[in-house]
Subunit: 323 residues, 2 copies
């Protein structure tokens, strides 16, 4: 492992964090940066909650709830019980320990600190050496237009448990947010080997990042292989409503549709061995394909997939050089 | 008991709340209003914390921690544990359940609601029918000038556990806060029978209320007996640093000094039987004296003292009429 080789992962919450954890086991901390989707961020009880950043931090620090994939292990819910007594909203569950993080962030934001800086502070305090970078320091909320009207991401995702039918998604809100300086800087880093698009929900977690102004151009200009890990296996989502949303948006729900979705940015796509029948069609789209097991149940699965990603990126780089 | 007879208590936290609880047992809820000191209020982790209002609400709702006298019963401290992990300040302890109340208040303040309204909402949600009224809807912080410099109340009281030596106290901050409309209205209520100054710390809990503009004038104009319950018994404070502060402010630490402190507002002073040797001197100051047991260990003690207060107020009213 050459220490100066660097990798940049784009990630949402639970699914992406699994691969990021795997990558953190096969790379030195200074080799790995993760850009987190902040399109899910929202205000609750006056607190700024950043679910994807938090899931990444809890996963990487080992504090995370391994069963749920979000929130903290050994969590207690007495705050929520008291909220119920006071007739406060309880559809978004904030654990007693988890609250510390939201209060820290909210207070630092009120101090005028940027989300990138605050995230770095939290990572340092939690002993995380992998760099977690918010996609933007500005609010860039994902808005979900559904058969029940316009919903904020968390209303759609948590309050209504993804049951409304999605008609359209809007990224970034009214004012175009800029990609965070550290995100941009990471793409310009000459040591960057590859951009890794984690197996997160393409519509809810990755597209908010790629939709920020100049992100796609900057990724392309970086000239490094972009590797997507499919969030779909044999027509089923690894996690969450990916396939349901693909259907609602009138897409096929297979890895070919994933390839089409990312065709203007992806150099390579990692699909599950079960989907290798689609490899030829995807290759014909100009996207290199690598197939292996991509379902991550155990830590070993995460590490194995991380190794596959790095191997594939090395292949793509070699081809880049030869081309 | 004639339902329309009304009483207004001025109270700080723990000590005052004991008597208020007693009064709530011998009066119908609509007969009793309590004005709470808000000079202790402060911002912590971006939350607006009102310790005296909260102690009154927890005491009256039965949710309070009976041993500590503040905070909630069945409280857990996992939020604080997580704050410690994150290196956040932990000198002011906020319980997991208690947090709900502070978040509710902070959010409602951000909505533009007044503290009086928010307190009424919280009381309703907690099933409290006694009216708890903040002394002001505006911030009126007590500042403590000490041998260690200028301290906010909570820094003095909680962070440094009252150990700095007090040189001077300043009430209400830079801008004069107005008494809350409901406080003023309660004093103008023709059904008002007496104003009861609870056995709270005179310097830290009662003086912040009495120092608000026009409060003393409004109390005097109301023309109803003002009864003080001594916070000192036989030269010792019932609770907290009252006697220590009296010494630091070069006062004697006995009930006579309490009488002197309140001489321009008090019609009657209830002292402990142990202090009845001071009765004559206090009477000579033009303040009526009633002596009984004023130490409240049990709920029965609280109720007994409440009865003594009401009896004494009846006596004073009769004398008022005769005069």
């Amino acid at each position: 492992m050459i220490a100066k080789q660097k990798y940049l992962a784009l990630s949402g919450g639970i699914g992406g964090a699994k691969l990021v954890l795997g990558l953190s086991h096969v790379l030195a901390p200074e080799q790995l940066s993760v850009v987190a989707n902040t399109g899910d961020d929202f205000q609750h009880f006056g607190l700024t909650v950043c679910p994807d950043i938090d899931t990444l931090m809890y996963t990487l620090s080992g504090l995370g709830n391994k069963e749920l994939g979000w929130g903290r292990e050994d969590e207690s819910w007495n705050f929520m019980a008291a909220c119920t007594e006071l007739g406060m909203d309880t559809w978004f569950r904030l654990g007693d320990r988890d609250l510390a993080l939201h209060l820290y962030r909210t207070q630092r934001l009120a101090d005028g600190a940027k989300l990138t800086q605050i995230t770095a502070e939290l990572c340092e305090r939690l002993g995380i050496r992998v760099r977690v970078i918010p996609m933007s320091d500005m609010p860039a909320p994902t808005v979900v237009f559904t058969d029940r009207g316009e919903l904020s991401f968390q209303e759609y995702f948590v309050r209504y448990r993804c049951s409304p039918e999605i008609r359209e998604l809007e990224y970034g809100g009214m004012n175009a947010a800029a990609m965070s300086p550290l995100f941009e800087q990471s793409l310009h880093d000459p040591a960057l080997q590859a951009v890794i698009i984690c197996p997160s929900n393409p519509f809810l977690s990755i597209q908010p990042i790629l939709s920020l102004p100049v992100v796609k151009q900057t990724v392309r200009k970086a000239g490094k292989p972009v590797i997507v890990i499919s969030p779909v296996v044999a027509g089923e989502a690894l996690k969450g409503p990916t396939v349901k949303i693909m259907q609602q948006l009138h897409m096929n729900s297979d890895v070919q549709a994933i390839a089409e979705f990312y065709h203007d940015i992806a150099d390579g796509l990692i699909i599950d061995s079960k989907d290798s029948n689609h490899a030829e069609a995807i290759t014909a789209m100009g996207i290199r394909v690598h197939s292996c097991n991509i379902v991550m149940h155990t830590l070993e699965d995460r590490i194995d997939l991380a190794r596959e990603v790095l191997r594939f990126s090395e292949q793509l780089r070699t081809q880049h050089r030869q081309a």
